[in-house]
């Protein structure tokens, strides 16, 4: 089945945290499990851990209590302190994976961290409400949980 592709704007969330880019990058990627609300936001049963492996080709994934791991995506760019990119395959059909990119830009008193979640066009008509949900979701998980964690860890 071919679905017509038309441009759908990515979700873009931009925040500023009180940490230098290298620190902000480490807090985002290295401490992923410490700020991601895994007990509530996950895809499989009984999640106990989640991580982003620090290398290109590494995985973003969650681990269940029984050891079963569910991939969220694959790290495509691991470029501290500038950029982290991973595919986003959570609950998506094969071949329709999306992209999540985090960019870190130095500011006078910290770092601007910009999250871009793209790849909505290949999902066709179903993308609209899925995009709405992620739009609101990143608004909480990234803009609130990550920022709170980064600011408290940095000060």
């Amino acid at each position: 089945m071919t679905i017509a592709r038309f441009p759908v704007p990515p979700i873009v969330k931009r925040v500023t945290v009180r940490a230098a880019p290298a620190r902000a990058f480490a807090l985002f990627a290295g401490d992923f499990a410490r700020w991601w609300p895994l007990s509530r936001v996950h895809t499989g049963p009984d999640p106990v851990d989640c991580a982003i492996e620090p290398r290109v080709g590494g995985r973003a994934f969650e681990r269940a209590a029984d050891g079963h791991e569910t991939a969220w995506g694959t790290v495509l760019a691991y470029d501290p302190p500038h950029r982290l990119t991973f595919s986003w395959i959570v609950e998506l059909p094969a071949g329709q994976e999306q992209l999540v990119e985090i960019r870190f830009t130095p500011e006078d008193r910290g770092t601007t961290v910009e999250l871009t979640h793209s790849g909505w066009e290949q999902l066709g008509e179903a993308a609209a409400s899925l995009r709405e949900r992620y739009d609101r979701g990143w608004g909480t998980v990234f803009e609130r949980h990550f920022v709170d964690y980064a600011n408290s860890a940095a000060t």
Partner: protein, 102 residues
């Protein structure tokens, strides 16, 4: 529900083969039956079921009958499947959305 009839009609492998042969262009039963491991009357029977399910249309072209896929029925099938897929997407998307309430 229209999509249920369509899914039921397409659950037979031979009938699916018959259906796939007329997706790209309308064809007469002789062409559809070519190379298929079933008799022409059997192919006609499959066409009848597909027609009853709304998946194909039939029209006269001189002395022969042409069978064509019905895009509207496929569109309905796609919408039904997408709705199911959407419901099944619950996990992460629903959870990340719900997180703003916490």
């Amino acid at each position: 529900m229209a999509y249920e009839a369509a899914l039921a009609a397409l659950s037979d492998p031979t009938r699916r083969l018959v259906f796939e042969r007329i997706l790209a262009a309308p064809r007469p039963v002789t062409v559809i039956a070519e190379g298929l491991p079933v008799s022409r009357p059997a192919v006609s029977q499959h066409l009848k079921v597909l027609k009853e399910a709304g998946l194909i249309t039939e029209r006269r072209d001189g002395t022969r009958r042409l069978y064509a896929a019905n895009p509207q029925a496929l569109g309905e099938l796609r919408a039904a499947i997408e709705a199911m897929w959407h419901e099944a997407l619950g996990g992460m998307a629903a959870a990340i959305d719900k997180e703003r309430e916490g």
